[in-house]
């Protein structure tokens, strides 16, 4: 967690004295501190940082100056996702960001510019910020700062951003690629901070029948039941269409744990909600 101190209006050298006292008496030893000061008040801050074992990173704006005090020796965490294929990079970065505090930074590198572009889209959608991007040698990189997703005014949320994803699955284990895609896309959406609902209907309900997903295994992926279990444990809501289940003689007790029966009205409601992005497999 990065501590942020707004100290607007305090002029130099008082801002410098304030910064010195904050760095000398940290709430948590070695914590990173971000001062927001008025233009001109950053004078002397670099010297304060050096004196107390920090490095000052100064970003000047028209009305505010950000002075970021980073403990010396503390470097931005880096991960290199070169060689990982979709959705690996997005999920790796999503997992890493979830372990960081607000304001903390992560450098993501890859030999593939396309991978970095994909990760950038996911990071931005989750509310975090891309501070810098470029190329170092054969590696493309972005520097990400974890931020809280900004709340959108009620009533405009659905139009501003679709934060919920509905994955409709109607093909079942007969089409393994679509079955895997159901859960892999869900995992990516979850790692982007979106709420995920999976709705099994027609042949899709077969995936949720106990024992069926254990029979599907692609050489490059874990067994389907494992991927499904990971998605359920990660917080996805999973429904099986009551009518489709009944049509195939499937009862609630036949479903894998975490899957609930739901009626057509639930499905229609999910499709009708403008805040939901719907994907069909």
């Amino acid at each position: 967690m990065v501590k942020t101190i707004k100290a607007l209006g305090i002029r130099a050298p008082n801002a410098e004295f304030l910064a010195a006292n904050v760095l000398k008496n940290p709430d948590t030893p070695g914590e990173e501190v971000r001062f927001i000061v008025s233009p001109g008040a950053e004078a002397g801050m670099e010297a304060v940082a050096r004196k107390y074992g920090y490095k000052a990173e100064i970003a000047k704006g028209e009305k505010e100056v950000e002075v970021r005090m980073v403990p010396s020796g503390k470097t931005t965490e880096e991960i290199d996702v070169t060689g990982e294929t979709c959705p690996g990079p997005v999920m790796i970065v999503g997992d890493k960001l979830s372990s960081l505090g607000i304001g903390e930074r992560l450098k993501v590198k890859s030999a593939s510019a396309d991978t970095i572009a994909d990760v950038s889209a996911a990071v931005t959608a989750s509310g975090s910020l891309i501070l810098n991007q470029g190329k170092e040698g054969d590696r493309n990189f972005i520097i990400v700062e974890k931020a809280e997703k900004k709340a959108v005014a009620a009533g405009t949320a659905a139009l501003a951003s679709k934060d919920r994803v509905v994955v409709a699955q109607s093909n079942g284990i007969g089409n393994a690629e679509r079955a895997y895609a159901t859960f892999i896309f869900s995992k990516v959406a979850l790692s982007m901070g979106k709420k995920v609902t999976i709705f099994f209907l027609m042949d899709g309900v077969g995936i949720a029948r106990k024992g069926n997903a254990e029979t599907v295994k692609h050489p490059a992926f874990p067994v389907l039941s494992q991927v499904m279990d990971e998605v359920i444990k990660a917080g996805a809501t999973v429904y099986a269409c009551e009518l489709s289940a009944s049509f195939r003689g499937i009862k609630e007790a036949d479903l894998v744990p975490g899957v609930k029966l739901a009626g057509a009205a639930t499905f229609i409601q999910l499709l009708s909600d403008p805040g939901n992005a719907v994907v069909n497999f």
């Binding site: 101190i5 209006g9 008082n14 004295f17 304030l18 006292n21 000398k24 008496n25």
Partner: protein, 226 residues
Amino acid sequence: MKYESLGKELIGLLGLKGSPVAVKLAKTPADIPQGYQKMSEKHRHCQFVQDARLKGTIGYATKAEHLCRGGAAVMGIEPSPELLADGTTYQKLGNFKTVEGAIDTVSAIPKTGEQFYASVYAPLEKAEFEPDVVVIVATPRQVLRLSQAYLYATGGRFAADYSGIQSLCADAVVAVRERGVPNVTLGCNGSRKYSGIAEDEVIFGVPIKDLEKIVEALKTFKEKWG
């Protein structure tokens, strides 16, 4: 009580009139200490501090009990009144020559970015909660000692900042809570006029984490300087 000895030592070492006041911003009703009641009368935050200091009043104030909307707003207990936020009020009150000057100050007043349910008050020696901040209303000489005590262990200079408005709320509570370092403030028109901050008194706000070392330093000063 957790802070009984610390509070009594502070009073004794400095010769304070009244008690240091423990102040906490409570996020939810569950954060209100057990047995604490809502304040029985509507008052300003600075008056609640004075009541805890001089009458030993213990309790909490939600939006409904806060009479000064500006004070409640900087502490995140209610949204900022528009006329205060845009500087108009303070310009009309005569604090500033221009609206631009008022805006410059108002935008720099320390305010929490969080929302809180209530502010909680108790004399420090009777506090049964972990305060965010301890507010000490004291004479300049007593505040001199407190500032010296703060600097005793590691030296440096004391940084105080205030603007003459929203003193006991923004300067003594919010700034101290958010920054994690003490502040000195001289009161404001409201706290001087309505809450009885005396002519010879100023205000020292200190994070609870620093109080023990301040008391230890005050003991050293007492031995050396009497």
